[in-house]
Symmetry: C2
Subunit: 373 residues, 2 copies
């Protein structure tokens, strides 16, 4: 018999399991976090499940389609990897068999209710009718929210690479160049600076700058226009996400003032990001700062935790009771939309420390003023 | 009162609805297909739902978070767009209110059971307990499977751009260059040739070539090694997905023969891709061809339909009763894995025609022989 695999992450998870007999992880975030194997098709092909069964005691089992079996064995310390033939066997049926084999078919088992599809969930009830299935998305999210020193280092390096790539794009902006050409410089910059993939590449100028997530197009940059970008990718398995606002040519005093409002909101929030701070209060601080400039504030959130996933818990939003803890990191991103041609956004990576937030992007404080191109 | 929106796609959907009173679309594939608005955060931030309610009669309603409202109004002809404040209101609760308003709270309504999460599904039952919810993933997939001339043109141009970008990468391969450097040429080539984003960039040489989805790394190309790539992105909202196999330096006769086996499998399948052909038989044809070369064949599928989504129905796999129809397009991709350093893959876009499949990639039949770099 194999010795049971233990890792610090599995150890922490087991300590947090309460009365659960096991947990089934299914999202890329959680299967990577607990297995070490990064199976990208979990996102690209959602029907092709990868399931990690983690009993409170004993060996975890990793269920993957046969196509991914070699990768799972290579990257994960888990010895018990089981392959299912896609289309030939439903992965949930295989999970049902493993539950019987391990005597877990009458237990209480946690699963990711926000990731598992309704169709697979229904099948779960059919193949394991004796199991009481309980959502554990919040529990797993809380464990992932506290980052190790190494995770913070990776997130920080990815954020800096992304920010530098944005500068590559800004530097390429000239009269007659298109949104798309500038965005391509950013994409190329992210890849050459170490990201494995660009996950999103939003850039809009002029009449596009007010769209929340504009696809860069053939529109040429015009004098005095606002250009907004929000770009990110994957750096050593961890997400990056940086937003900047620039003006092509000399900004008006109104544009300068409006950017100042969101930068001041970000600055004040960052100072307050100590352990114990309430996300609700942080959101309110940003809202109050912006409205003190006589501007409307409607952003549902002003920041989010990040990791293997893009928006992780906690979010900095007004309906949450969450408080900050040391080890958490957030992208802090006040955003104001004042019209289709008039929107401002700044987004930076911030670590929570006893002295307040530490900005991990922008070593030169380039973000303090509206960028002039 | 507004005039009800009708588009050819909504018309076809309504003809297929049978006894359903309405359908709720939630995936990016279906909301884009039926609304015309491409809300990328549906994939990036799955909790942030966008829901399109399409009653059998009368005006559709598009429910999106307030952040995406301007984009939804700009891109979609739907007049009835309703915004919900993320975190402040659950999108499923808003859907429940709209169902009451439209007298649909006691009907039979179709939904995407393979896209809706178990958590949202449970809430659906609570907010609309009088509704009978029925999965319609297959129905919607069948409608999307038949492409218009314009869709085929878009898919074809995206496929060619992706294939040319692979050639950019191959041309950059030299002794001492890394997997990553070659992959970056491909990524840059895809973007400069018109793709909006690179969704996946798998490339592995030597000991990595046997991983199904290798992340390109710092490994330098070595003489005689197999290099395999499988790359794709989004071209005007539609997915691309091309795979190629090359050898760095002179291939052995064994390598040449093994590549010939999968190319011959692809060639035979393509010839047989007429309306009425059974996907099961096509899969078997590929398997038989490969085994006739005395090689094992284990691929669960050898091709997939494609559109706004990556793997769409039908799939060319042995457990399906589907048959081909004119207007369908597939990426056909026989793959053999013979060892960690010995795997072969070729993947091309093929349209179904009465004369057999028409290859839309590779106008120069460059794929016929193992590429020598």
């Amino acid at each position: 018999m194999r010795t049971s695999v233990t890792t610090p992450r599995l150890g922490k998870l087991r300590e947090s399991m309460g009365d659960l007999d096991a947990i089934v992880a299914s999202s890329l975030e959680n299967t990577y976090y607990f297995s070490g194997s990064y199976i990208t098709t979990i996102r690209a092909i959602p029907d092709r499940l990868a399931l990690m069964l983690i009993p409170r005691e004993g060996e975890p089992t990793f269920l993957v389609c046969t196509i991914e079996e070699s990768l799972a064995r290579k990257e994960s310390p888990i010895g018990d990897v089981r392959g299912y033939v896609e289309f030939g066997e439903n992965p949930v049926d295989l999970l049902g068999k493993v539950l019987v084999e391990k005597g877990l078919d009458r237990g209480t088992i946690g699963y990711e209710a926000r990731h598992f599809s309704a169709a697979y969930r229904e099948r779960l009830s059919r193949v394991a009718p004796g199991v009481s299935w309980r959502p554990v998305d919040d529990l797993l999210g809380r464990l992932r929210a506290i980052k190790s020193r190494q995770e913070i280092d990776t997130l920080s390096r990815g954020a800096l690479a992304t920010e530098d790539a944005i500068m590559d794009g800004w530097e390429s902006a000239r009269p007659g160049r298109t949104e798309r050409a500038v965005a391509l410089e950013m994409a190329n910059g992210m890849m050459t600076r170490g990201l494995d993939i660009v996950s999103f590449l939003c850039l809009g100028a002029g009449s596009h700058c007010g769209d929340a997530h504009p696809t860069p197009g053939a529109r040429k940059l015009g004098k005095g226009e606002i250009i907004r970008c929000d770009v990110g990718g994957i750096f050593q398995r961890y997400q990056t996400d940086v937003a900047r606002t620039a003006v092509f040519g000399k900004p008006t005093s109104k544009q300068t003032k409006r950017y100042e409002a969101i930068f001041e909101a970000q600055r004040r929030v960052v100072l307050a990001m100590k352990p114990g701070a309430s996300v609700r209060e942080l959101w309110k601080m940003a809202a109050d700062t912006v409205t003190s400039y006589d501007l409307p504030f409607r952003a549902p959130h002003i920041g989010h935790s990040i990791g293997v996933g893009l928006h992780e818990e906690p979010m900095i939003q007004p309906y949450s009771d969450a408080t900050l803890e040391e080890g958490m990191v957030f992208y802090v991103e006040p955003f104001i939309h004042l019209g289709p041609r008039d929107a401002y956004h700044v987004e930076d990576l911030v670590a929570v420390t006893p002295d307040g937030g530490l900005v991990l992007t922008d070593p030169h404080e380039r973000r303090g003023e509206l960028m002039v191109l």
